[in-house]
C-alpha cells in the first residue's frame, strides 16, 4: 500500500496526539520527548508494566530515527534537514501507539523490509532467540549500534510491527513504522 508523505504529515497533525514532533531529531529532541512522555504517563497513573514498555519502545523508536534516518532529499522542504523525522504517540483504548517516519535511501529498502518481514513472521519465542543471537554474536558498530532496536520493539510489544515504504524519488523513500503497546497483553 502506498502513501504520500505530505498527506501522512497532515493526517498526523489532525489526530489527537500525546506527543508529536516533526523536524530535526537530535539529542535534545530525544531528551525532551522522553521527559514529556514520562511525565504524562506518570500523571495518568499508568501501571509500571505499561509505563516501562512504552518508555522503552519510545527510546528505541527515537534512537532508530537518530541513527538511521537518511538525509532529506534536497527538494523536500524542511528547515533542519540533517536527521529529519516525525514522531507521533497516541493513546489507544487499551494502550499506546508510537509511530515514526523518516527518509531512507532506496538501496536500503529491500534489506529493511526483509528484516521486518522476518520479525513479523516469527513467534515470540523465535523473536526472543533472535534477540539473544544478535546480542551475543553480532559485532557492535562504533556508534554502539547492534541491529537490535526493531527486534527489541517487537519483543517488548508482543505485536507485529506495522510498516510502509513510499517511494519519494529515484534516491529516497519515506519509511513509516508503527508499534502498539497494549495494556496487560499476555506474552
Amino acid at each position: 500500500m502506498s502513501f504520500d508523505l505530505e498527506n501522512l504529515i497532515t493526517d498526523f497533525k489532525s489526530r489527537d496526539a500525546i506527543f508529536y514532533f516533526k523536524g530535526n531529531i537530535d539529542s535534545d529532541v530525544i531528551n525532551n520527548a522522553l521527559d514529556s512522555v514520562e511525565l504524562k504517563l506518570i500523571d495518568v497513573k499508568e501501571n509500571t508494566r505499561l509505563r516501562k514498555k512504552v518508555y522503552n519502545v519510545l527510546v528505541e523508536s527515537l534512537q532508530n530515527l537518530y541513527h538511521h534516518a537518511d538525509i532529506v532529499p534536497p527538494e523536500f522542504d524542511a528547515s533542519n534537514p540533517d536527521k529529519y523525522g516525525i514522531i507521533l504517540m497516541e493513546k489507544l483504548s487499551d494502550g499506546y501507539k508510537i509511530t515514526t517516519c523518516n527518509f531512507i535511501s532506496n538501496k536500503k529498502v529491500s534489506g529493511l523490509k526483509e528484516k521486518l518481514d522476518r520479525i513479523n513472521g516469527s513467534t515470540s519465542d523465535e523473536i526472543k532467540e533472535l534477540y539473544k543471537e544478535i546480542l551475543n554474536h553480532h559485532e557492535i558498530t562504533e556508534k554502539g549500534l547492534g541491529g537490535l532496536g526493531l527486534v527489541d520493539i517487537a519483543r517488548k510489544t508482543g505485536n507485529m510491527l506495522d510498516f510502509k515504504f513510499a517511494r519519494y524519488n529515484d534516491t529516497y523513500s519515506a519509511f513509516y513504522l508503527s508499534a502498539t503497546v497494549n495494556n496487560e497483553k499476555s506474552e
Binding site: S27, N31, Q63, K132, L135, K143, G144, L148, G149
Partner: protein, 126 residues
C-alpha cells in the same frame, strides 16, 4: 587500584567499581545515543582489574531502563567478569528488577543464559 566512579545522569547510569570498598555497581538509566563511548572507561578499568581481582567480586546491576546499544556494552562488561570467573575467582552478579517489570527480569535471564557466571535475580518490592 583507583576506583572508577561516574555520576549518573538522566540518560546514563551511576557507575561505581571500587576495589577497596568491595563495591561494584551499575545503577540508574542507561539510554545514551552512544553507549560504546560511555562504557569504554569501565571496560578499560575491568581489563586492568582482571589481572589482579579480589577473591570474590559481587556486582550489583540495578537498572531502571537500558537501550539496545547499552545491552551490547553491558554484555562486554559481563564477558570480562566471566573471564575473571573462568580464572577460578568467585564472581556473582545480582540483577535487580522492579516488581511487575517482566522485561527487565527477562533481560537478566538472557544474560544468565549467555554468560557463565552465577546470576541472582532480585525483585525490588516497593
Amino acid at each position: 587500584m583507583e576506583p572508577i566512579i561516574i555520576e549518573g545522569t538522566t540518560k546514563t547510569p551511576t557507575i561505581r567499581f571500587d576495589v577497596r570498598e568491595g563495591i561494584f555497581e551499575i545503577k540508574g538509566r542507561s539510554i545514551p545515543e552512544n553507549s560504546v563511548e560511555f562504557y569504554k572507561p569501565l571496560n578499560e578499568w575491568l581489563d586492568v582489574y582482571m589481572q589482579n581481582p579480589l577473591d570474590k567480586t559481587v556486582v550489583n546491576i540495578r537498572l531502571e531502563y537500558f537501550n539496545t546499544s547499552s545491552s551490547k556494552c553491558i554484555l562486554d562488561v559481563f564477558k570480562r567478569l566471566e573471564s575473571i570467573h573462568r580464572a577460578k575467582h568467585d564472581v556473582e552478579i545480582n540483577w535487580y528488577y522492579e516488581e511487575d517489570d517482566e522485561d527487565m527480569l527477562e533481560a537478566g535471564e538472557d544474560y544468565d543464559s549467555i554468560i557463565k557466571v552465577p546470576f541472582k535475580m532480585i525483585e525490588i518490592v516497593e
